[in-house]
Symmetry: C2
Subunit: 299 residues, 2 copies
Amino acid sequence: MVAQIIDGKAFAAKVRGQVAQHVSALKAQHNQTPGLAVVLVGEDPASEVYVAAKHKATVETGMTSFEHKLPADVSEADLFALIDQLNADPDVHGILCQFPVPEHLSERRVVARIDPAKDVDGLSVVNAGLLASGEAGLVPCTPLGCLMLLRDQVGDLTGKDAVVVGRSNLFGKPMAQLLLRDNCTVTVAHSRSNDLPGICKRADILVAAVGRAQMVQGDWIKPGATVIDVGITRVPHPEKPGKSRLIGDVDFGPASEVAGAITPVPGGVGPMTIACLLANTLTAACRAHGLAEPQGLTA
Amino acid sequence: MVAQIIDGKAFAAKVRGQVAQHVSALKAQHNQTPGLAVVLVGEDPASEVYVAAKHKATVETGMTSFEHKLPADVSEADLFALIDQLNADPDVHGILCQFPVPEHLSERRVVARIDPAKDVDGLSVVNAGLLASGEAGLVPCTPLGCLMLLRDQVGDLTGKDAVVVGRSNLFGKPMAQLLLRDNCTVTVAHSRSNDLPGICKRADILVAAVGRAQMVQGDWIKPGATVIDVGITRVPHPEKPGKSRLIGDVDFGPASEVAGAITPVPGGVGPMTIACLLANTLTAACRAHGLAEPQGLTA
């Protein structure tokens, strides 16, 4: 078998287009424009690139983008004062603080300060609890993106054996909750699991998120399975000295000869993250104004 | 193989004894007495039995028991006023409202009103989020009791294949989180799972919580597995007309010929629930006073 390659870039563009349509309708019908505020502390170059990409994507959908740059030595009190102001601002529907933050700040405390209804990264304890309780909250962007890709690729997920490798708060645990909500039988495996190859081989849906390059081998994959590769590791380019390339948690070549469908790295899950950030901001805005949530763009 | 029968009644008595020892030490060394407030709305006979049992067990450990009975037609405002008063009372470390409550009240809203630090049933969204995030919160009593039984029976759970059948907010989902925290590979199966027998048969640890009498058959069980039966269904007694008996989700007779260890119904998981309610109240009291948490009595 040669697997279908799941084009996350194209699908993310479609999602962003759907968000833009909803934004346009919100403006026309309700005179409301969703707004996303991004807070950047310090001058980490990678963070600046991410924030710029989020700003561009936000503006392209017709939403308002608010950028707040704070010095690396900002006090927690000053950062919290800004978050409180954004929490209270009716034009701001989503707030995210770009991580990592400098060491004198606590990411946990920063996330907890954001109004859960505006926590579009879905990282707060309250949103984790809403997800775990099957209630409407805001879901972390990357697992939400994977869920959208899976629904699009597989259709109804009911009864599928799904295996999530990795149990982080950021991805593995919310991904498992989402798959369970969609009626999969869900297994969470991790570095302490016995017989990881055997566990993976049972999966109709295999989601790898451990951050270990090419760990999942081709012969770990059930023939015909749908494989979602969330890992991103930067390694030296094998042919271009001084250059690097990104590889995933799955050994793509051999895996793509066994799987039914597979996401590549790059160009698979990655582009979905920002698309889902925009979707979450739209969802938050609809809820804030008592409007119906956008169909197909939430969990 | 003939399975070892896990004596939940004896183990629960041991846990209550440990709680009592800690309570005694708290009084002697810190002049603090943990207090549990139970709110009963209306006059449901079964609820009155449960509340009386909780009161008796609380007093027996040396803790203070506060009972509040409200009429069946109490308004939400009056119930919330009582909860607010208990939230503010420094002598009250744990609060629970006995469910079900009359239909004009919302269990979800009642739980949300209780201070998460006093929510000893562990049912609030915040406590679900803390559990899902791997942070210290209060864990629902029945899954905590099952975890204690498993740790006692199996020892280190790392790498074990654990299967939880059932995905309720009250039991299945928090049970899965606890097993994951203890480094099991965790599968959550449910009514929509394909091949439930095959999934169960993979389990080193099988936890059944679906509420369907004797659904789990003997030949669904891996030889030597540890089986925890959380189901309780009341059925007519086969030999005593007009009498009833309790049976679990597991077909006990055939299962006990395959399993390595198994909890009976009654006398297995059931007695652990109140023991863990007391343990949670003790934990909440220790935290409230900035003291070390009791070892072995928390997740």
